[in-house]
């Protein structure tokens, strides 16, 4: 589904990503883990065309989307739900969702919206409420729902559990697993290592803009260096 090869990128003369390779197969949750500043969000922004890649290649579903503008990449079906949610605070929940289908999935907006409301009943209750007045958890649901409105082939979730209460974090991970169960391919970018590894098919650990470890959750959990650095045991 997604094939990332040798991506290098940065800000000005500062290189942040030093050659990243990642693969996601259809219907899989692939976790990208790493501490603050490892370059996870930079990678997401390169994949969605917000930041240009210095070199490397990105293939989505067999199509080369390297260097595409964000509009073209959304059109191709790679949808990025950004860190910090970035919902439209001055629009209500329903209009936020409608805009999720602005570029892609326009024909099925009504059905897609019904689906989002079914998955997130709280959004349905608040459909006329301005997004700026939602709680952090509700905004995260809205951001994901908005992403789903575009009928993604691949959904990138950047730290969806950030700032949520432990109970909501639990709920969020269950939900992400459910979305993948429905056939969605998900690139789950997280600092929450333990819970991400529970639902991921495979994981990559980024350190200093490089893939430091990768593999199956069980194999990674068995490694002392991972446990020491990311689980504190």
């Amino acid at each position: 589904m997604l094939e990332v090869r040798g991506i290098r990128a940065g800000y000005g003369s500062m290189e942040v990503l030093r050659g990243i390779d990642i693969d996601v197969a259809p219907g899989e949750i692939i976790a990208v883990l790493g501490a603050n500043g490892a370059g996870k969000s930079t990678l997401n922004n390169v994949l969605s065309g917000v930041i240009p890649a210095g070199s490397g290649r990105v293939m989505l579903d067999g199509a080369d989307i390297t260097g595409g503008r964000p509009t073209a990449i959304v059109e191709a079906g790679l949808i990025h739900v950004p860190e910090g949610r970035r919902v439209f605070p001055n629009l209500n929940v329903e209009k936020n969702l409608l805009l999720g289908g602005y570029r892609r999935g326009k024909a099925n907006r009504a059905a897609n919206m019904a689906h989002v409301y079914e998955i997130f009943p709280r959004l349905a209750e608040r459909r006329r409420q301005f997004a700026g007045t939602l709680s952090g958890g509700e905004q995260q649901m809205l951001a994901i729902g908005r992403g789903m409105m575009a009928e993604p082939k691949l959904l990138i979730l950047d730290e969806p559990s950030l700032g949520l209460s432990p109970k909501l974090v639990e709920e969020m991970f269950t939900l992400i697993a459910r979305l993948a169960g429905e056939g969605l391919s998900i690139l789950l970018v997280e600092q929450n290592v333990a819970q991400s590894l529970e639902i991921a098919a495979r994981a990559y650990v980024l350190e200093n803009g490089e893939v430091a470890m990768q593999g199956l959750p069980g194999d990674l959990l068995a490694r002392d260096d991972l446990r020491k650095s990311y689980l504190g045991v």
Binding site: V87, R103, R104, R146
Partner: protein, 298 residues
Amino acid sequence: MDFLGLPSYSWETVLGSAISGVFLGSVYALVALGLTLIYGVLHIINFAHGAMLMLAMYAVFFLWSALGIDPYLALLIVVPAGFVFGYALQRGVIGRFSHGRDEITLLVTLGIAIMIENGALFAFSATERQVQVPYDFDGIDFGVTFAVWPEIAALAGSLVVTLALWLFMTRTDMGHAIQAVAKERRGAELVGIDVEHIYGVTFGIGAACVAVAACLLAPTYAVSPQFGYLFVLIAFTVVVLGGMGSFVGALVGGFLIGITEQLGRLYLGESLGLITISAIFILVLLFRPTGLFGQASG
């Protein structure tokens, strides 16, 4: 009886003055509507707004003098042309040179204003020109005052444009996208909104509003290269007074300023009358810093 030495007038005179203020205010509202869209939504302080109004007035004038096209019929030509001009100006010049930095945008629009004004002075000279229409002395007698058709058309136009803009912004995808870009640019990019295109469209609509204003103003106002100044100064006042980015605010603010100006003229005379505009401006902002219809969160 004298109050503070002001002259006293019959209620008919005062009401007549207020009604003519509504008509004058609708003209201000027309100019302010485009400005509030560009200023309030895109946060661009468009110093070229007056110059664009002047240019559109010349377009209306020459369509009339060279081709005999009535100013109201000219709406069909000048409004689409205004949109295209605004779109091209934003994408080709303002967006390209300001790199999203407000202080540069300010200077760029100022530079455009100076260029358009001097270009007009060079091409058209300082002579005032005015469209002559056969119906500018007919109208409706309200008893206390008489309104000519061009005034009534301006009032109707300001109401229609306000309603159209409001419907566009709240009912269409493009309108929602404009609001999304205004507050959350990155989020807008990530749903596939072409942000640069939206900037162009928004500016284009602002320019189209200016074009509507020009067609409705042409029968009553003569145009010269300095024409835009007074209107835009007042239109900026109207925008801030009504609340930045609010169309209803621009309309109500326009009426308020128009009525204030006319009453000021009545009581204080032609030369002092405009002072009342500043007075009402300061007064409103004292009690409502975000303007009449402004939202608290910028």
